[in-house]
Amino acid sequence: MMDAAYTAPPELDRLQQRALLVGVVALGLTVAGAFLNREQFFRSYLLAYVYWIGISLGCFAILMIQHLATGAWGIVIRRLLESATRTFPLGLVLFVPIALALFGGHLYIWTDANFVAHDAILQDKAKYLNVPFFLGRTALYFFIWFVIAYFLNKWSRQQDEASDPKEMKRKMQDLSGPSLVLLGGTMTFASIDWVMSLDPHWTSTIFGILFMGGQALSAMAFIITMIVFLANFKPMKEVIAGRHLNDLGKLMLAFVMLWAYFAFSQFLIIWSGNLPEEIPWYLNRLSGAWKLLAGAIILFHFILPFFLLLPRKANRNPRLLVTVALLIIVMRYVDLYWLVGPQVSHEVGGKMNAAFHFSWMDIAAPVGVGGIWLWYFLTQLKKLPLLPINEPQLEGALGEGAGHH
């Protein structure tokens, strides 16, 4: 077993080509949309960007968690997680349109000098919410993510050939602890900058955690979908067993519950406080058609996945697991749409316009960015064996394992 190469199956090439094709077409349409309706383009693009970078970042966090927790479930998905962290260069390139939005006074109302001139609080907050500092912070986040991802990937690659793989393992573990702390800090501020500052008057101390919980959930749903897909073909066919899916499914359930817990905490506290600074954020999201979306989120982002994943047997059924994962992948999009959608529709002059709106670009942009992202991810995935072949615990992690269950 140990000398197997675990190279990617040819089916991945086909998936990759399709992803590229879909990505280019949809992104091309979105870019064309930029000339038709610039405001809408930036809004849809931000949604797409936050969605896909969230999957990279969620995988990044799960990669470090699995280094610290060292379970069989982590070993079999490690290369997938690592490939996702190697998409950060793409993430940085894809950030360019958002940076452009800052200069045109689009998207973020605090970049609109006219608006800020009539708002004392925003003038005061300009110490934090200003374009150079915003860009500098984003650069810093990416720098930190690059450095950590660089070493985790480098050591993992070296481990494949190393004479002392345990040494590399120890290095990765030692880096993962402090790096999780750094990721938590940078991701929190990234979520404040990229999403929370869309409504610059609104604040919530749980927002960073809620956002990170959502990313971990998206990432887990994506990884489960990928691993179930890979398990159809050699070589992963012999590797992936019920116990891996069981553990991954349980983790997905845990992330579903954590996300719901954070989301409910935020809602209950703001609802009962009913303060003028806070409650409009929810009032906008609970008016008109937004309310239906909110209801759909409760039902399909929490209740349905929760009850589907709760029974013990469910997590060993790949078809059910992948159905729930796909449902979550869609619902994460709906949740982000509900999060990003209402506040960005403002007119210069300060009037909030939270009326429900939906544009074809809200679909084209996520599909376009997603196609490109998936293509790039698969390019990275094919570079290395699908399993860390020299990992000391690899043998115990394959198949059903010994003495387990």
């Binding site: 069989a72 925003l122 907050k125 393992k169 101390t205 749980i206 817990y261 406080g273 600074e277 003495g403």
Partner: protein
């Protein structure tokens, strides 16, 4: 529970959860001897008498309180919640480690929980008992506390179901009930062992009654395992829910410093943080005094240190977010709240809190510190103090200066406040001492399952 688990981390397998060389008999002998030993160690007598003496301060101050009312406390207007609520939250939080160890670690098949779960659960129960004293007395007329429960009554009065204080009544009473059941159910097989081994007739009868007629038949074990797993499942949400509800007591209001959406997860992390600090504070001297190093190994100690570090970092994140968002909100009152914490009359409490809860646990990053029981004992004491200070800062410092400067006031605890707090420390330790002397501090039968002999069948 599985054996030969490939999921087992590399580093932790090096130190076993049980020193090799034990047999079924020697494990039983060693643990049962602590409870059944004829001679009470002199150290135990001194420790128990001291704690029991200190507990008297609690009973005395309760007596005075019942005679005179809660005016004997330092609470005033605007600081209507003070030591009573600080101590309530502090004690409730400490209990959480016990529930986490016994329920969540059981469901996650973490074998290292086995030698520490029993006294951690006992700790939970005693901590909840200490916690319960405060709100019960703070009502002012504790003989009418049953009004807190919604029952059909001739007055036609119901509790306000929208108030988190009433959620607290349910959360805490459920917590106490489930924890007590979990602990007792886990004790039953061991109580039977003690019954069978006791030489003293009275002891035999008492243990016998508590053992509920346990004979160790296959059916008994089958029922036992089912019940234990069910209780673990019931306890798991309680780890999150109890302190979440406690955090709602504050966050649902609008006082700056209380109204923060991060409170639920940050309170839960703080509770686990304080709880593991207390488990370390108890287990480090306990294993030394009763020579239990073979059972409570360095691996347990190290794992607990890691959990403390992780939860400590979450708590630090909470402080950071509170400070940042207070500034970022641009809200005058929020900004003043954090400014007042840092530089107001109680500045010392905020900075001591940062020192105890944020700076001290950073030492736990070092392997050397995680391997030194002395260092860990000291850190766990500091964290215990830090978590108390956290509640002081949240409750007293937020209340003493809120929206209206004309209603600002200073708060100072009276001697009765101090006597009650120190008294509960005495009560807690006295109960702990009694537990150690009369019940098996480590689960005998679960320790036996850690022996290689008990695995033979499973692997065949």
């Amino acid at each position: 529970m599985s054996t030969n688990n490939p999921d087992k981390p590399e580093e932790t397998t090096r130190v076993p959860v049980l020193r090799p060389g034990y047999t079924f008999g020697s494990i039983t002998d060693k643990i049962a001897a602590i409870a059944l030993g004829r001679k009470t160690p002199i150290g135990w007598l001194i420790g128990f008498s001291l704690s029991f003496g200190v507990a008297m301060m609690l009973f005395y101050s309760i007596g005075v309180l019942l005679l005179k009312g809660i005016g004997i406390w330092g609470n005033n207007n605007p600081v209507g919640w003070a030591f009573d609520i600080i101590n309530f939250v502090w004690w409730i939080g400490i209990g959480h480690a016990g529930t986490l160890i016994s329920a969540i670690l059981l469901l996650f098949r973490q074998q290292w929980r086995t030698s520490i779960n029993r006294f951690a659960e006992a700790m939970t129960l005693f901590a909840v008992a200490c916690a319960g004293v405060y709100p019960a007395l703070h009502t002012g007329r504790p003989w009418l506390d049953y009004w807190l429960f919604p029952y059909p009554n001739t007055m036609g009065i119901w509790p306000n179901f929208r108030s988190p204080l009433i959620w607290d009544v349910f959360a805490v009473s459920t917590y106490a009930t489930v924890s007590a059941l979990f602990w007792f159910v886990g004790l039953v097989p061991d109580l039977a062992t003690l019954r069978d081994r006791a030489k003293n007739r009275t002891a035999k009868i008492i243990y016998g009654m508590l053992a509920l007629g346990w004979r160790g038949s296959a059916r008994h074990w089958h029922r036992y395992e089912t019940a234990y797993l069910l209780l673990a499942g019931l306890s798991t949400p309680l780890v999150l829910s109890v302190h979440t509800v406690v955090s709602f007591d504050f966050a649902v209001g609008i006082v700056p410093g209380w109204h923060a959406t991060i409170f639920p997860p940050y309170f839960v992390a703080g509770a686990i943080y304080a709880g593991f600090a207390m488990v370390l504070t108890i287990s480090i001297p306990l294993r030394k005094f009763y020579n239990l190093q073979d059972f409570i190994t360095m691996r347990h100690i190290r794992n607990m240190a890691k959990i403390m570090l992780a939860t400590g970092l979450i708590v630090a994140y909470g402080y950071m977010m509170e400070a940042f968002m207070a500034w970022y909100s641009g809200n005058e009152y929020e900004r003043f709240m954090i400014y007042n914490r840092m530089t107001g009359p109680y500045w010392w409490s905020y900075w001591s809190l940062i020192l105890c809860n944020v700076i001290t646990p950073q030492f736990l990053w070092a392997r050397k510190v995680r391997h030194s029981t002395t260092a860990l004992f000291l850190i766990s004491l500091v964290v215990g103090v830090g978590m108390w200070l956290e509640r002081f800062v949240i409750i007293v410092v937020s209340l003493h200066r809120d929206f209206l400067p004309s209603s600002w006031a200073m708060y100072a605890p009276t001697r009765y406040d101090w006597m009650m707090f120190i008294g509960t420390l005495g009560l807690f330790s006295a109960l702990m001492f009694l537990f150690i002397r009369f019940l098996p501090v480590i689960s005998i039968f679960e320790m036996r399952t850690l022996l290689p002999e008990s695995k033979v069948k499973e692997e065949a």
